[in-house]
Symmetry: C2
DNA sequence: TTTTCATTTGTGTAATTACACAAACGGCGC
DNA sequence: GCGCCGTTTGTGTAATTACACAAATGAAAA
């Protein structure tokens, strides 16, 4: 049987294609796009394993199965080459024997064909047929990809406008959202992810891929800007803050796991219910990231703008001080004293203000509580500052961050 | 003896004039300008009272004597009319019998002639002679006033430039200062005084007059701007801050006393040693006054920019918040709770943060310490805020000032 | 070298704080 | 009316804090 004749016999619709391949190989077959959504599957009365049945029921490969395939290295191989990949059973994720092949257009992966090979012998002939099927499926997936790309491009343009506050009025935003079949009801937040190094094509592929597969309902869209990955996150109103936080943490964790590149920093801005406020959330997320880079120790555990506390406006005050040529004279005096007396009053003060407790500060500094008390008294004498006065104390706390 | 002939006999120099009047009246005479600096005095071997001798020695009427004259209403009368004023002895300030007359050019008072009338009988003739002497002295004082006015105008122009940072480089400033015979060595600070009502000509006269007489060495110059009185204060470097504070307090007190207009608010800015920083001090003084008007209770006791504490940048943060449409969600949540439950958690929080002590806050609110503790626990539950965290606590303290 | 002075640590005490638990109060809905 | 529930006040306890005072250390000055 020549190749040409065989292709001629192949059906034109993806549904028919799945059944055709299944018939040839004598086993169930599924065709998926690159994001693991089902394009078509062969009709079989019984499903051979949990992974297949769950996939068909959800019209999408379950997340834990995708994870398992990544961890087993299967996905890596499929992305690497266009050759069929034999998969040993992975009982942990309910997956039996498989043979899989990537559907490609040139080097780009458009999707996958999975064959349930259990108790079926795969000869060279069958493998050849699978490759031919993949090449045929490419046509279908190309069309689907083009449609999707155009849609995504529209969405990304819209996102860009939302992020930069140029999307117009509430009414205009809602009209555009309806047109793109996006729901902006509920709570919205912008997340920013920064990678330790410049974004490689591989990282970009993983990020895009994950955005499509990981809790798809909550991540409306993603885009790249200045080596940052931006996400528009959508949640229900109740507990939106916690859900967003958890979601982002999970996303970051998975992304690190998949790319093998650790050191991803992620932040998000205000969780808002009005889509016209999205650009504020965007700015806040950016600012939070900036500040985390500037004050890495102090803001180590911070993820969101809200958690920045006084750091929210520390840059603005710092700029004001510079402009006014302002220096906190108390801090200057303490610094001068420390230099000339080889003491560490400033560190003592910082620790005391940070903990707001003589006990804890003394413990952190490995000194006696009375020593700390003595030093505070010394600071009072040298600078005339009154640490009982909350206003002065607060001012000092902030100025120490800037000038410390 | 006709008036014309008498005037012809009067001498042309102020020194001669004093002696001439003294001869006619048969008693010692001093001629002063409007700021109580001696223009001339008659030569007598013994001075009749302490006030006269001290005045001549210092070439200026001592401050306590001027004060006494104001309090006795003498100065008021002299400014009021051009008629001679009889002064009963004021032993408290070492002053014996006097007769005084103001020297005028139209309505403007240019100076005074004082005659030591002890044991001398003043008849109508002597009084007429005194009036004529005053009219003659007017010529001399007019010249002196014009010279002084021109000099003051130059100084005020210079001050304006210093205040607004347009006086050029350090070298240019010093050159200009030398030209105007001003010393800008040591510590400098700008003070701003605000009157409860618009500045009347009377208040303006008192203010100018006091600036010239009250601790003249420390007040380089004054000017009016937008109903505010601006002073350039000069002190020695050591203890400059305290001296400035004390000086301004004394000045304000005396001005209130003299004008009889209470409610003068005064502030001053950074005490600097570099004359090119004067405009910073000016801006700070203005800002301090502005803030005192905006937060009258919180800043009641504040005189200088340094004492503002966090209020130094509260306006900037407030503007930033407005621009970012930021609201502290913790405060919003507490407000909402207070409204729907008729509680006063926000006031409780404010008091606790202000005092930074459960004990004191409870005392101020007239509640049991445990009640306060309970409310704080409630705040923690409702908002999730952690008052042990200094950063969050500080943020809350500041946001309460803005949003509270 | 001795002396002096700032600094550190230790002891002791009274006030303050955080916390648990119990009891009383008072508005509100059933 | 009755009970529910949030609030307030009171009692008791252990930890923390502020402060005074004494003693030891150690480095710089005399």
């Amino acid at each position: 049987m020549s190749l040409n004749r065989e292709i001629d016999q192949m059906p034109d619709s993806p549904e028919g294609l799945a059944d055709y391949i299944a018939g040839k190989l004598g086993c169930p077959v599924t065709i998926e796009d690159v994001n693991h959504r089902i394009i078509s599957y062969s009709s079989h009365e019984t499903n051979v394993d949990d992974a297949r049945s769950a996939t068909i029921m959800q019209r999408k490969v379950p997340e834990h199965v995708v994870n398992g395939l990544w961890q087993a290295g299967v996905m890596g191989n499929l992305f690497e080459s266009g050759a069929p990949v034999f998969v040993s059973p992975l009982p942990a994720i309910g997956l039996g024997d498989r043979i899989a092949i990537s559907v490609r257009k040139n080097k780009e992966v458009l999707g996958f064909i999975w064959a349930q090979t259990k108790q079926v012998k795969m000869g060279d002939d069958e493998i050849r047929q699978l490759k031919e099927a993949a090449s045929l499926a490419s046509r279908h997936l190309q069309k689907q990809r083009d449609r999707k790309r155009e849609k995504e491009e529209n969405i990304r343009n819209f996102m860009y406008q939302l992020f930069h506050g140029t999307a117009g009025s509430r009414a205009e935003i809602e009209k555009q959202a309806r047109k793109l079949h996006l729901s902006l009801e509920g709570s919205l937040s912008v997340a920013v992810l920064e990678f330790a190094e410049s974004i490689t094509p591989s990282v970009e592929r993983h990020a895009s891929y994950l955005t499509e597969t990981f809790r798809r309902k909550n991540i409306i869209s993603h885009m790249f800007e200045n080596d940052l990955l931006l996400l528009l996150i959508h949640t229900h109103e109740d507990e939106a803050e916690n859900v967003t936080q958890e979601l982002l943490r999970g996303f970051r964790y998975k992304l690190e796991e998949r790319t093998g590149v650790p050191g991803i920093d992620s932040t998000y801005g205000k969780v808002c219910t009005r889509p016209e406020d999205i650009h504020i959330s965007y700015r806040q997320a950016q600012k939070t990231l900036e500040l985390k880079n500037r004050y890495p120790e102090a803001l180590a555990g911070v993820t969101t703008f809200r958690e920045l506390g006084v750091y929210q406006f520390i840059q603005e005050i710092s700029a004001l001080y510079e402009q006014e040529n302002y220096k906190n004279s108390v801090i200057e005096a303490i610094k001068a004293y420390d230099r000339s007396h080889n003491t560490s009053l400033l560190e003592t003060l910082r620790s005391f203000l940070h903990h707001n407790s003589t006990h804890q500060a003394a413990r952190q500094l490995h000194i006696h509580t009375n020593t700390l008390l003595y030093r505070l008294k010394r600071i009072r004498e040298i600078t005339g500052v009154d640490l009982e006065d909350t206003n002065q104390k607060t001012k000092l706390f902030i100025d120490l961050i800037i000038q410390g």
